[in-house]
């Protein structure tokens, strides 16, 4: 019992420190612009990675449809949140659909508390829409196995993207012009949680939900399906029902992350949600460890930071003395990034965390081992 308590204390202290750090970051956000944007993007990608991991790593369904569901969430959130006064500016080419304008005017004139929670309602609606789409599509595609499921979901994601950028939906999605003037993250709890911290809180809730789910009886059933479908079915687990659950939940959270991404980027277009985005997420999942939630989170931050920040240095021309180092040009950082990825994958063959989760016991044991080794010497 004491052990459990000790670990809980560690966790609470760590979370408190993180929160303090975030508030500090909020106070000093102007000097730390890069850090803020990397952390925010990292946390959003962490949620997509975890939801992809729920499907690919825990249920064993190799799906590549994440970008499609993210775009559903992103577009829903964006359309619902663009302020009424900006509508004409955004939809300057084709005009906005009257129903959208009417709905937004109604929201804008609603009581204040509705307007305060409306961004969260928008995120939830985006998620529910994606979940509904996933439920329908799941009936057809979840009968497929491994590679075939991957191809079907990949195609699905492209279809969603094509629909969003099609001229027929110009008045809703603004076609290929994309949407902009999307408001930033809203503050929470009447400003007690500043807008900078909002994505962290939302994502934390979502990931905690997924972790609880994975540890529940249903999560165990998902794992059984991953391990051996035939045996799982023989143990009375309804394959279709459980696969559908996992698919729907994963899509829901992908869409919530998509909505957050729209708030983060302030402007979106259908191209943002191309296959490359899914591959980026898949990369994060694989690097972190297929079947490890904490691995996905860790890797989301590392990959985002490396790609967007730490390696920027390679993009600028570098001169040492009078010698100009060759290769240091725009785009070179991606070469270095790819090489680093290869090295990481070669060293950690099952990803940074494998299928393990972060635990204090593991860290403490490692330290104890080191101490012992030091004592022996």
């Amino acid at each position: 019992m004491i052990k459990i308590k000790r670990n809980n204390i560690y966790t609470i202290v760590t979370l408190a420190l993180l929160l303090v750090f975030l508030y500090w970051l909020n106070a000093n956000r102007l000097q730390n612009g890069m850090l803020v944007s990397v952390l925010q993007k990292g946390v959003i990608l962490a949620l997509v990675a975890v939801s992809m991991n729920l499907l690919n790593g825990f249920t064993g369904l190799f799906s590549l449809g994440q970008a499609g569901f993210m775009s559903i969430g992103a577009y829903t959130t964006a359309i619902l949140l663009i302020p009424v006064q900006n509508l004409d500016g955004v939809y300057y080419m084709n005009g906005v659909h009257p129903a959208i304008r009417a709905f937004k005017t109604m929201v804008a004139s609603s009581p204040e508390f509705i307007q305060i929670i409306f961004p969260f309602i928008a995120l939830l609606l985006g998620g529910l829409l994606a979940a509904f789409a996933a439920a329908l599509v799941g009936i057809a595609v979840l009968r497929l196995k491994s590679d075939y499921l991957a191809i079907a979901t990949l195609g699905l994601s492209e279809i969603v993207r094509a629909i969003f950028s099609s001229p027929q939906f110009d008045q809703i999605t603004n076609g290929s012009y994309g949407l902009n003037k999307i408001p930033n993250f809203p503050p929470m709890l009447w400003g007690a949680i500043p807008s900078l911290i909002t994505p962290f809180i939302v994502v934390a809730f979502c990931i905690v939900f997924i972790m609880l789910l994975i540890k529940s009886s249903y999560g165990r059933a998902f794992k059984a399906i991953r391990e051996d479908e035939i045996a799982a079915e023989a143990m009375g687990i309804n394959l279709f029902k459980h696969k559908e659950m996992s698919f729907v939940i994963s899509s829901f959270f992908s869409a919530v992350a998509g909505g957050l991404l729209a708030m983060y980027m302030r402007s979106i277009e259908a191209k943002t949600f191309s296959i490359t985005l899914t591959y980026d997420i898949l990369l994060i999942v694989v690097i972190g460890g297929i079947g490890s939630v904490t691995g996905s989170v860790l890797s989301a931050f590392l990959v985002t930071a490396a790609k967007e920040w730490w390696l920027r240095f390679f993009d600028q021309p570098l001169t040492i003395g009078t010698f100009e180092v060759p290769l240091f040009r725009t785009g070179f950082r991606m070469v270095i990034f790819s090489i680093l990825l290869m090295i990481v994958v070669l060293i950690y063959r099952r990803g940074l965390m494998g299928t393990n989760e972060f635990s204090w016991d593991r860290i403490i044991n490692r330290f104890k081992k080191r101490e012992k080794e030091a004592a022996h010497e």
């Binding site: 789910l213 249903y218 391990e227 009375g236 309804n238």
Partner: protein, 279 residues
């Protein structure tokens, strides 16, 4: 005839032109051990798969505990190529997925052990308890079913204790020695709370000593869990030792049935197993 737990009527399973099981009629008495034996490729596992819902038979009916769980007749393409001995087709189509049949009270093991390899011994058994869960996804996620969950853990622990695997509860199931893996697979099947336990070659790959232990184990769980057992086996010693009734299959056809003593002396069985002296 209420003491018959499982009954198959004219089960015929045809794959393309090959009749793998032909007109199989089995009656399994409650609280007995019934065995299905036969040379390699006789159609034993196919018969199992039909009974547990894995395959849909070309023709025939399976009744479990008074309920028709599987029924089919030759349809569409099969109608033209159907070549079973029994020519009177059934009229209805009843389809149940294997998970549904398991929840009705029929659990099975596999010829080539199918454990959840990356999971621990404890998790393997715990997962089998999931099939009777009452809580929904959300109440289970938010642990509103604390009592149910606790009971699942306790039952699993008790079950592992009874089958003598509690000591290796935290070991990865694939790291267990072969005999224990078999035992774990049986324990996992028991965790679903079956009335009928189907064992597909439980003694495959076992030495005589392990086989003997297994036959004791099967008798023991049969009594303590009030089970009816239906098994496929190659090991004659095991089958003759524990079975009450034996069915012998050869090339999909039932060539003999009866008590071990009767079957052992049946000329058709001897011919199937030892071959015929053509001269």
């Amino acid at each position: 005839m209420s003491d018959i737990l499982l009954k198959t009527e004219h089960i015929t399973m045809q794959f393309g032109g090959v009749v793998a099981v032909d007109d199989l009629n089995i009656e399994i008495q409650k609280d007995r051990i019934t065995a299905l034996i036969g040379p390699n490729g006789a159609g034993k596992t196919t018969a199992f798969n039909v009974i547990t819902g894995g395959y849909q038979p070309s023709n025939g009916r399976v009744t479990f505990d008074g309920l028709v769980i599987v029924e089919n007749y030759p349809r569409s393409k099969m109608k033209k190529i159907y070549n079973g001995t029994n020519k009177t087709p059934f009229e209805k189509q009843v389809v149940n997925t294997p998970d549904k049949i398991t929840r009705l009270g029929m659990a099975r093991t596999f010829q080539n052990i199918r454990l959840f390899k990356d999971l621990t011994v404890f998790e393997n058994v715990l997962i089998a308890k999931h099939c009777h869960i009452k809580a929904g996804l959300f109440s289970s996620t938010f642990r509103l079913n604390r009592e149910e969950e606790l009971k699942m853990y306790q039952d699993t622990e008790a079950l592992l204790e009874r089958v003598g695997l509690l000591g290796s509860r935290n070991e990865k199931s694939s790291s267990l020695p072969y005999g224990k893996q078999r035992r774990l697979e049986i324990a996992r099947a028991l965790a679903t709370g079956p009335k009928l336990l189907l064992l597909d070659e439980p003694a495959a790959g076992m030495n005589p000593k392990e086989t003997e232990e297994l036959s004791l184990f099967i008798k023991e769980i049969k009594d303590s869990f009030k089970l009816t057992v239906f098994l496929i086996e190659h090991h004659m010693n095991l089958v003759m030792d524990i079975s009450d009734t034996i069915y012998v299959l050869d090339y999909g056809k039932t060539i003999a049935q009866g008590t071990p003593a009767e079957v052992q002396n049946d000329p058709a069985v001897i011919r199937a197993y030892l071959g015929v002296d053509e001269a």
